[in-house]
Amino acid sequence: MSEDTRLTNAAGQSAALEGWYTLDDDSPALIGTRCTRCSTYYFPKMSRFCRNPDCDSEEFEEIELSREGTVWSYTDANYQPPEPYVSPEPFEPFAIIGVQLEKEQMIVLGQAARGITVSDLRVGMDVELVLETLYTDDDGDKLVWRWQPKQ
């Protein structure tokens, strides 16, 4: 995408994956689509053909996915992933959560919020979506969605 159309928030931060989530400061959300005929949700966005075998719709509406869900499972990364992952130096381990979204009936993976480790997590726990910096380059901070356990 060209420079002109890049979206940033008030702090000048932009998305590591443009168009995958809103940059709303208070209640950011993943952006998906929904088939207007059969109601199947898609994340990442699908806008060409519905993959439900009982539906051949090509009409979709863009929607924000539920910001809250429950932990389906969790793990962590103790070794530095290969590119395109951009690692801080030195590499910092991080936790990863699979989150079950009730309305959408789907599981979405993502990193856990900074500072959360596997010992903070349990299957079934309530979590919500936050935005944090994935990496910083010449254009500034690149944000990514992460899952934060609810108090």
Binding site: A16, C35, P84, L109
Partner: protein, 395 residues
């Protein structure tokens, strides 16, 4: 049964990190399989290769590459690429050709040379490719294995000890297997000392990537009879089925599952559907199984497979593991070869290697890891992008 084909010969190049060209492994495996079968290379009518995406153009056309290396003999060729199921799809292509009468005897062969470390995606900015996106956010293959393992622990009460029992069991199985890469009997202490990769899985709980090659000579039952091998071990079923919408499990390389929000849709585990089709095709029930070779990408995943193959009820695999049922000598040995745990993964060869092991076992020639009285064996594996397979072999 008329849908059976005979396994006349099997051969492997030992797994390892040899750093040679993949063709060398495939040729060695193919020549061993030919020698084992007693069939002359020039009599092979169809060469079916498992493709590899890591070895350039010769890997994309592996069937032809091996046919040329063995000496062009005019046979028809096929190359199947289906991630971890590549070998089974190559076998399925040969089986269809044989059962349709288009050929009588075929070579099925797969081999790979693998890079070090994590399997990584193609380069560039490619947000449309889920395999690229997941690595951007730091999700590697072990992430998925860690998620499955942790879910078992929180849901069923499986423990790290259970994973260790499986690791130690498989290391004992593979210890005397001449084709295994890791020939060391690991202890709990070794495992505890190995670094955590993707909690709760340590390095020794997760499969490595390996070089290796495996091959089969398969034929019609008529052909087998004509050359005096009517009692050969047989392929009774091959399932290479795709998932059913909607996926109930987060699968590599996806960042999310399908949504099961539409009316009439429910989430379904892919792994179990692969095996169920194989049982149906073979007319065999899980109770008939003497041993299983399953894709233990992690020690915990071995237990998922036991349940998906209906060898026990969901959530109960750890009971069998703790009772020693899945050891050679136990009631239902799993990964008598030593599994991926002792081999590491050589993608296009792995599903073929599983069939090699079952063939040796059903012939009663597996040496110290022999499962006594083995009559029916099942393989299972699953890879990226809706590829998985299960093969049933019987006496």
């Amino acid at each position: 049964m008329s849908d059976d084909i005979a396994i006349l010969g099997v051969g492997m190049h030992p797994w390892g990190k040899w750093g040679k060209n993949f063709v060398e492994y495939g040729v060695k495996a193919a020549r061993d399989a030919l020698a084992d079968s007693g069939v002359d290379w020039k009599d092979i009518q169809f060469v079916s290769g498992g493709g590899t995406v890591r070895c350039g153009y010769p890997g994309y056309v592996a069937g032809a590459t091996f046919a040329q290396a063995l000496g062009w003999n005019g046979a028809e060729v096929n190359t199947s690429y289906a991630a971890c199921a590549s070998g089974s799809q190559a076998l399925a292509a040969a089986r269809h050709k044989i059962l349709s009468g288009a050929c009588e005897v075929a070579l099925v062969v797969g081999a790979d040379t693998t890079p070090k470390g994590f399997l990584a995606p193609a380069k560039g900015y490619r947000p449309d490719d889920p395999d690229w996106v997941r690595f951007l956010v730091g999700i590697t293959n072990p992430t998925y294995f860690g998620l499955y393992a942790r879910r078992r622990m929180d849901l069923y009460g499986d423990t790290e000890d259970d994973f260790n029992i499986i690791k130690i069991k498989n290391s004992k199985h593979g210890f005397t297997n001449p084709n295994a890469r890791y020939k060391k009997i690991f202890t709990e202490e070794d495992i505890a000392k190995s670094p955590m990769v993707a909690d709760p899985l340590r390095l020794l709980h997760i499969t490595a990537t390996s070089d290796g090659g495996a091959a089969l000579i398969v034929s019609s039952m008529d052909y087998a009879k004509r050359i005096g091998k009517a009692d050969a071990v047989k392929v009774a079923a091959i399932s290479t089925s795709t998932p059913t919408f909607a996926s109930g499990n987060v699968e590599m390389p996806d960042i999310a599952t399908d949504s099961a929000a539409a009316a009439g849709v429910s989430p379904i585990s892919y792994r179990s559907t692969i095996a169920l089709k194989a049982y149906e095709e073979a007319g065999i029930s899980p109770k008939d199984v003497s041993l299983a070779e399953v894709y233990d990408l992690s020690c915990a995943l071995e237990m998922d497979w036991m349940e998906d193959l209906r060898l026990c009820e969901e959530g109960e695999a750890a009971h069998l593991v703790r009772a020693g049922d899945t050891k050679v000598g136990g009631r239902l040995p799993v990964n008598a070869s030593g599994g991926l745990s002792c081999f590491g993964e050589a993608v296009p060869a792995q599903a073929i290697a599983q069939v090699c092991e079952l063939t040796w076992q059903l012939r009663g020639t597996a040496g110290e890891r022999q499962v006594e009285g083995a009559k029916v064996g099942i393989t299972a594996n699953q890879g990226l992008f809706g590829h998985g397979s299960s093969v049933i072999v019987k006496r």
